[in-house]
């Protein structure tokens, strides 16, 4: 972490950048928040540990409008989002100095709580070069849990350690993948239509329409969302009937299809723990199967299968036949 601070201070001091976008230490062991750092003394609060799961790419949309460059710390998976935003002309490459940071999977305090741990006071072992075990000190006694058991779901199907865009890289990443990304989708596909409907109905009925999934999503970068517009009946703040929440999530999934990099932020932020990434991942799997393997955000240039036309493209009928 010290290396990140030193380098960031250098880049500010030599005039390369006007500000640094990173994470500020929280007031609990697990709640650092995204923050801008401009002055030397601001860095007293800088942190980079296992709880810095927030993807800072989307904040670069606003940072791109500011004077001067912004140093931004991106984890390997965050760089896919940055590339995609670059492709969509939402961020300015010239305004970003990207430091690719190492990652060994990000932590989810809910996963720790789910292991019966309450009253957390301190968590040791969250640093990038930390041990494989976390020591959780609580007011009800100390406990240890494995780092892997406390990781966000998305890290178990990690896209890889490679940063897809960067100016420099600091820190080693570790392998965290221990499951196939599409296993969850296959399990859903294996359900009968009735089972599938019941599954999503149960999950989506928890939705409180807080819009956290949409607002955190790097692919949701419309200046005015149709669901916020007062010009249509679409701006529902509550689920008027049982179809409402499905409509919101299904439309959102369609809108980000082919552009979603599977960064997993939607599922990370959902206060009700809805596995929202499943919609997007199903689209990704379908796109892979219909048009050949494609990963949004792998680069900032190539055309997405859904915005490109080729003679060998699958005809719409194929989807109909396949069901």
């Amino acid at each position: 972490m010290q290396e990140l601070i030193t380098r960031a201070k250098e880049l500010l001091a030599d005039g390369t950048a006007a500000r640094v976008l990173g994470w500020r230490r929280g007031d609990l062991p697990y709640n650092p928040e995204p923050a801008f750092f401009e002055k030397e003394e601001d860095f007293d609060q800088f942190v980079y540990d296992g709880f810095c799961g927030a993807n800072l790419s989307k904040m670069m949309i606003e940072a791109s409008k500011l004077e001067g460059k912004t140093v931004v710390f991106l984890k390997p998976c965050d760089t896919y989002s940055f590339n995609q935003l670059l492709k969509e002309h939402r961020v300015d490459r010239e305004k970003a100095y990207i430091i690719g940071v190492g990652c060994r999977g990000k932590l989810d305090v809910e996963k720790i709580r789910a292991q019966g741990i309450k009253g957390i006071q301190e968590i040791e072992g969250t640093e990038l070069d930390g041990p494989e075990e976390l020591t959780v000190k609580t007011i009800y006694g100390d406990q240890t849990v494995s780092y892997a058991s406390a990781m966000l779901g998305r890290c178990h199907v990690c896209k890889g350690k490679e940063h897809r865009i960067y100016d420099e890289i600091i820190g080693e990443s570790r392998e965290t993948k221990d499951a196939d990304r599409f296993d969850e989708v296959r399990a859903i596909e294996a359900m009968s239509p009735e089972e599938r409907f019941a599954y999503f109905k149960k999950e989506l009925s928890k939705c409180i329409r807080c819009n956290a999934c949409r607002n955190v999503c790097p692919a949701c970068s419309c200046r005015k969302c149709v669901f916020d517009s007062t010009k249509f009946d679409s701006a529902q703040k509550a689920n008027v009937d049982s179809f409402e929440e499905k409509m919101f999530h299904v439309i959102r999934a369609f809108h980000v299809a082919g552009r979603c990099t599977d960064c997993g932020e939607c599922s990370r932020v959902c206060p009700q723990g809805i596995p929202l990434h499943l919609f997007n991942r199903k689209f990704i799997k379908d796109i892979d199967e219909l048009y050949g393997e494609y990963h949004a955000g792998e680069d900032a240039e190539s055309k997405s299968p859904l915005t490109d036309y080729r003679f060998e493209d699958a005809e719409p009928g194929i989807v109909g036949e396949r069901g």
Binding site: L28, N31, P34, I139, K206, N211, A212, D233, A238
Partner: protein, 347 residues
């Protein structure tokens, strides 16, 4: 005081639900929220914080106000029937009860909200003391005692039993109706006292318990409003409505019309001061930036509300926002930021 074995709670729920609607913490698809009791419901009384607060029982996220229909050439307006049957909200916490008292200030003062009043009149609150408070709790800061909930019935989970103490006439009535399942608990006072001491000792150890509210009061409007602290504080705010929707005291709502096949449904639903169209009027919006929206939420809880309600804050320290904000922001960080940086121009 009475007691009932935890193992017999199902029978108690069945008995309550036989006569009244019963809402309690139920786990559905991995998350615990207040929901109507059903025979196969996975009740979770050990869950300290339901995702949403029990606010819905009195002020639901969505409710129909009336329906409009045209029949031949006549316009028919059919108001929604007011709540007219008793119901029980079981398993609230002391902070949740305080949340309802905050809502009372808003909805029961003139002009009285008839929908809310009907629910308040028919609702019976059974609140459980917090056996194991957690690090995100700070109810004590707002004068709430997690060891002694102030509801119609107060309850403590001690060992294998639930201790039951009616505190109001409504609570006595509920007790009477399930009396054959309750046993008199002789000597329970001592046990309860011991449990309360334990709870209060834990509260003392929590990181937020000694948070200072100094400087936050109804007279601090200009000083806090004009502080430069907001300019950095709001930055990670996503402008989502999570904090407002999990909050037991956020009470702002919107009224909208929804076209259905057989008429127009006028409904109200929770609104969020974090949203860009909040209080949007024909002449525009009086808060156009996220900084302004973010500031509004905390000014309302810690300055405007006490200014209008004899010093009562509209935060109860439940800590739901602490646990759920996607950007790890919350009211505690706001209070601390002002403490650290001085905040107001007069400080």
């Amino acid at each position: 005081m009475y007691k009932i074995a935890k193992n017999d709670l199902r029978a108690l729920f069945r008995a309550i639900a036989g006569e009244r609607e019963l809402y309690l913490p139920v786990k559905t698809a991995g998350q615990v929220n207040f929901a109507a009791w059903e025979e196969d419901a996975e009740v979770s009384l050990d869950t300290l914080k339901t995702v949403k607060s029990p606010k819905d029982a009195f002020f639901p996220q969505f409710e129909t106000l009336y329906m409009c229909r045209t029949e031949e050439k006549k316009l028919q307006i059919q108001p929604q029937a007011l709540k007219d049957k008793e119901f029980v909200v079981f398993g609230m916490r002391a902070c949740d009860v305080q949340g309802v008292k905050v809502l009372d200030k808003v909805f029961l003062s003139d002009p009285v909200d008839s929908y809310y009043r009907a629910r308040r009149e028919h609702g019976i609150l059974v609140a459980i003391a917090c056996h194991e408070p957690e690090e995100s709790c700070f109810c004590k800061v707002f004068g709430v005692d997690a060891a002694e909930p102030d509801a119609d019935v107060a309850a403590w989970m001690i060992g294998e039993d639930l201790i039951w103490k009616p505190l109001t006439e409504k609570g006595e009535r509920l007790t009477e109706s399930v009396k054959e399942l309750l046993q008199p608990a002789d000597g329970a006072e001592e046990k309860v006292q011991k449990e309360q001491e334990q709870i209060r000792a834990i509260l003392e150890k929590l990181p937020y318990t000694h948070l200072s509210l100094e400087g936050w009061n109804g007279d601090a409007t200009d000083e806090k409003f004009n502080s430069p602290v907001w300019e950095t504080l709001y930055k990670p705010c996503l402008g989502c409505g999570t904090c407002t929707f999990v909050c037991p005291t956020c009470q702002c709502y919107d009224i909208k019309d929804y076209k259905t096949a057989d008429g127009v449904q006028r409904y109200r639903c929770w609104d969020s001061c974090m949203y860009s169209d909040f209080t949007l009027m024909a002449g525009g919006n009086n808060r156009t930036t996220q900084l302004q929206r973010f500031r509004q939420r905390f000014m309302h809880k810690l300055v405007y509300f006490p200014a209008n309600n004899e010093g009562m804050y509209s935060c109860v320290g439940c800590g739901r926002c602490v646990e759920k904000c996607p950007s790890a922001l919350n009211i505690v960080k706001v209070i601390k930021a002002f403490e650290k940086q001085g905040g107001g121009e007069n400080v």
